[in-house]
Symmetry: C2
Subunit: 120 residues, 2 copies
Amino acid sequence: MQALLLVAHGSRRESSNEEVRQLAKALGDAEHDFGRVEAAFLELAEPSIPDGIRQALAAGAERVVVVPYFLSAGRHVVTDIPAEVDQVRRESPNADIVIAPYFGSSDEIPRLLLVQARNS
Amino acid sequence: MQALLLVAHGSRRESSNEEVRQLAKALGDAEHDFGRVEAAFLELAEPSIPDGIRQALAAGAERVVVVPYFLSAGRHVVTDIPAEVDQVRRESPNADIVIAPYFGSSDEIPRLLLVQARNS
């Protein structure tokens, strides 16, 4: 089983965290090959990234794909998320944990922004 | 002429601001009805949102569509961006300035995240 872990920054506003959890749920409801889709947070909300990965492994995932829900390739994407993932890799050296390209690197973003602009 | 103003938070990392300017350029190069596409920033980078709108009006825009490049409907989207836009509306009461739905409200985001996950 493959698991998808949607990783966001986390916010003091619980409604923003809930928005991310709802997005993970929408992802889970879409058509895909992942047996499990959950959200995790870099800070300020639960579960943490290591806990999110551990829960996926405990649920039987052979592979965990971490998808950073970030717009730019800042410190969080380049340094912090890989460091959190490495923590679990050290604990579970046989687990297959990969980090997908961050959301902001999607080449469809210009088209989506034009759709938003036309919806105004 | 309609202008599109892509509005991001702005970062201390100049490379993140440059990423947004490049995205505005990619938007400008796509097929659309906007005579002008530029970036502006809520803080930490130039131009500010009011200056971005003023420059669009000075360039002859009859309508300026402000597109918030934000993932969640936090304070910046709900309060700060509208307040910056209102500043120019007071100066130029005849200008048609609208705020598009923020990027994170696009219903195509789950699909894009699944594409990113499959690219891992």
